[in-house]
Subunit: 280 residues, 2 copies
């Protein structure tokens, strides 16, 4: 099986490493507009060969889009234009509605499988790629009914090889759920970092005092805008919905404190504690 | 050295384990109003003996207060009433202003050292205690000038044995800094948990989809109200200050999204990324 990874960063690079390790891919081509990343991916043996997009499309059984969601959306129809019935294209982006909408009327739309492995770190680039990624986490396939049976089976095998647990849902449902359990966490984390950076001008104090709790809460604030601005843009309505709810939840804490209503504060915290039963 | 731990939970229990391992403490007494915790601490060999408060005060060189900050504040003057010049009392609470204010005029105030080891987890009770805690983290001593030289030296030795890096500051400064780098993280995390619990009624979906990012952002939301309500109460003004700033930072994200101002969104995220240079 010859696999092309478009975007040899954290996610694409980690997939390449694991699919090669598992002997699922016999050959891995890498495509990336960032020459430095391509070079690094070759050096780290994440890919076997750096090629251009045209060559990749002609010579691969499976093409994996692992670039920012706006770039994937633009590139996908162009790749599908040249796809034969023996080829499959998949993406791994954090939003699913816009990308599936964009190819709704494409003649080769059945060669595409929309998916999202629920794994990532605050780091980026091929240097952050690891073959230990993905295992045990959930991966989502969206609009499975629009994909050809053989393409769908192939992508399922990809996720089996990544040792992920598959879930199926509509693109709309995916984007609502990820707004809650991933996108809002990033906004919260960015805003928390900005809060501390705004108020604490003595950076040494932050660095020396920062507890493990703070570090884990702001970890995501290290994530790059190149990846995240397009996600927020594509999932704007859902993200705004959850953000409004989050601000109103924070206001409840503010009001409890301002009014010295510590019974209410305890109630708010006890309710939040329920997350313990859900997230092991 | 005979040490009494008042409150044999996560922090008190972890200190006991480490101080015994390091042979700093030859005997450790445990005092706890929770009989179940006392029993568990004995069973786990965290303490050598469960005793009552009166016996502990009479028979210890060092008394460590590791209970919620409101309980410490109430109990400290009563313990100091019975303290001799050969005994030292220290606390390990997350707020420092109220406890130091409460004994400002106590005749034995110099036997007390106010301190705060910057370590903790979302878990509680002696079952969560570990001898691996504390190492490499910061510990703060406040109002060191109000403590007797021998008491201060003893508490410094405690933190040396816990392998922590000591910082000195006023109680006021401590409470401002911890509002930024610990207390606000907890409120954010609680509010985020409540946001998700409010909106996502299908709990199975949260559990299955939750990414590692979400888990790390809501980890602190598992922390119990018994510990955190008193902290927020004692540090109310600082916490409200930071909470207001945090809400206004979140509103900037909201406004950028609502106005489709993605350049501003990128700016907000790039600014937050600066935390990468500060927190390794």
């Amino acid at each position: 099986m010859t696999v092309t990874i478009i975007g040899v960063g954290l996610i694409g690079g980690s997939m390449a490493l694991k699919l090669k390790n598992q002997q699922f891919a016999s050959k891995i081509y890498g495509v990336d507009f960032n020459e430095q990343n391509l070079h690094k991916a070759l050096e780290l043996k994440i890919i076997d060969e750096a090629v251009n997009l045209e060559f990749a499309i002609k010579n691969s059984d499976l093409i994996i889009l692992a670039i920012p969601v706006d770039s994937s959306q633009k590139l996908l129809p162009k790749i599908l234009d040249f796809c034969t019935e023996n080829q499959t294209v998949m993406d791994v982006g954090s939003t699913k509605f816009e990308i599936t909408k964009g190819i709704k009327n494409h003649i080769n739309k059945s060669r595409f499988v929309a998916s999202h492995p629920m794994w990532g770190t605050e780091n980026s680039g091929p240097g952050a790629a690891t073959s230990d990624a993905f295992g045990g986490r959930a991966a989502v396939i969206c609009e499975a009914e629009n994909s050809a049976t053989d393409s769908l089976e192939l992508v399922k095998k990809v996720y089996e090889n990544l040792e992920m647990n598959l879930l199926y849902m509509s693109s709309e449902d995916h984007d609502i759920h990820t707004a809650y359990i991933s996108h809002i966490s990033h906004i919260t984390s960015y805003a928390l970092a900005n809060t501390v950076l705004e108020k604490e001008k003595e950076e040494d104090t932050i660095f020396q005092l920062a507890s493990s709790g703070f570090s884990s809460t702001v970890r995501l604030a290290k994530s790059h805008p190149e990846m995240w601005v397009p996600i927020f843009k594509q999932n704007k309505e859902n993200v705004l919905d959850v953000l409004n709810e989050h601000i109103s939840q924070l206001r409840k804490f503010k009001s409890a404190l301002e009014k010295d209503n510590f019974e209410y504060l305890e109630e708010l915290i006890s309710n939040a504690n329920k997350i313990r039963g859900i997230l092991k």
